[in-house]
Amino acid sequence: MLRVEGLSVSYGAVQALSDVSLDVPPGRVTAVIGANGAGKSTLMRSLAGLVKPQDGRVLFDDEDITGRKPEDIARMGIALVPEGRSTIPDLTVEENLKLGGMWRSHTQRGTSLTRVYALFPVLGERRSLGADTLSGGERQQLAIGRALMCGPQVLLLDEPSLGLAPLIVTQILELVSQMAKDSGMAVLLVEQNAATALRVAKTGIVLNLGQIVKSGPAHDIANDEELRHAYLGY
């Protein structure tokens, strides 16, 4: 569904990604794992159009979307949940959600909103409260909910575990994985927390210093002791 071919990104003299190619198939979670500074966030940001790659292509359903604006990419059906605080604390919970997918029809947005509240009941309970009153886990649910409001075919999740309790991370990721299975949505998950990510993912890709060092079934990667010691540090 989403295909990356030979992507290279550099910030000045620093090469953040070099010649990265990968596939993100529908209906499942693909995990990109790697240590801090491996280029994971750069990969996500260039897929969402926030960073312009120097080289390579991003194909969405065989259409070249390299270098498009982030708002256009979002409208095509690729939604990024960026790392960290990606909710707007000055808006209410429901306003944060309604921000997603504003270009869609009233009916589509209504259906999506009902679905998000069904997936994350706590958001429904707090819909009229300010987003700044939510806990870290609830805020991550809100960020994912906002992305889902765009009705995405591809969901890009950048480090959703950051600062969250392991139990909450597992819950959220399992929900996302179930959603991918049910709706045929493609999910690209980027994580430093490799063990958790590989548990929900079908395919694992190990990124180190901007290059892919290994990719294969998540199960194999999780059990590759050498790889774990060398790149994942556990």
Partner: protein, 292 residues
């Protein structure tokens, strides 16, 4: 005591106009983090356009509507002039650019309409109401000014809090990246912010012109007052702009009444300095201190 009441009442409509001007500054600040010193120049140009329409047709309402429409257009034009500077330089470059635009607008007005003070007659009586056997410094025109402020604030509140475009504008101001990732065309929202600011400023210009006279530089002092009100209000708070706009109007009326009208700008600047010393983030801002 009667003096106090008189000075107080006399400051209400001035305060309402300062509030409108401060609102325009806040709208621009919220969308692009630029203080637009050309705002008053834009209002001056649109007031001249309004005066021309009024003289030609005799209709104040038509003049107001034309001023509002041209305020939108001039706002968009100035946005493009200034934002080019932001892209090439930085925010402080843009602020200098707004000064440049202000001077250019004043020169343009001088060339087209001349440098003299022109009278801009009010649409309704500007002599004070007579109640309890005396004349109060509050006229039907003052009432019109206050009503206009209330109506504009109500419309803006509804647009910002109840409509999708308002939500998109607020999100673009608070967090442009998240807004773009949500599919909002943020650059259009910024232009819209400048356009609405131009409209609000145009209304302020048409309302203030009858209180004195109209010339290319006659609004300069209002820039000081509106800037003071906007900054004390927190620069990104619409409520703050309205509250401190009216407050500034009352303060300068009291200062002018008890001392001399020449002291009013000094007091305004003094308030600004005290604010920046003791509460630099502004009274209504929810952000932490900004760099001064």
């Amino acid at each position: 005591m009667t003096n106090f009441i008189d000075y107080f009442l006399g400051g209400v409509s001035t305060g309402a106009i300062i509030a409108l001007m401060a609102l325009a500054l806040v709208l621009v600040w919220r969308s692009t983090r630029v203080v637009n010193f050309a705002q008053l120049g834009q209002a001056m140009i649109t007031s001249f356009i309004a005066l021309t329409v009024r003289d030609a047709t005799g209709s104040w309402l038509l003049a107001l509507l034309v001023a509002m429409a041209s305020g939108l257009v001039v706002g968009v034009i100035v946005y493009f002039l200034v934002i080019r500077a932001v892209k090439r330089l930085d925010t402080s470059g843009a602020i200098i650019a707004t000064f440049g635009v202000l001077i250019a607008l004043q020169a343009l007005a001088g060339m087209v309409w001349g440098g003299d003070q022109k009278a801009f007659p009010p649409p309704i009586s500007n002599s004070g109401y007579e109640v309890f056997g005396r004349t109060w410094p509050f006229s039907p025109y003052d009432l019109l000014v206050v009503v206009m402020l209330i109506v504009l604030v109500l419309i803006m509140t509804i647009v910002f809090t109840r409509t999708s475009v308002g939500l998109a504008m607020r999100a673009s101001a608070f967090n442009p990246e998240v807004a773009r990732l949500s599919g909002v065309r943020v650059s259009r929202m910024l232009i819209l912010g400048w356009a609405i600011a131009g409209l609000v400023g145009a209304v302020a210009g048409v309302l203030v012109a009858p209180l004195s006279t109209l010339s290319p530089t006659s609004f300069d002092l209002f820039l000081v007052f509106a800037f003071t009100a906007a900054v004390i209000g927190g620069l990104d708070s619409l409520v703050g702009a309205v509250a401190f706009g009216i407050g500034t109007g009352l303060v300068i009326s009291l200062v002018s009444g008890y001392t001399d009208s020449g002291n009013a700008p000094v007091v305004a600047l003094l308030l600004l300095v005290l604010n920046l010393l003791f509460k630099p983030e502004g009274v209504f801002s929810h952000h932490k201190a900004r760099a001064v």
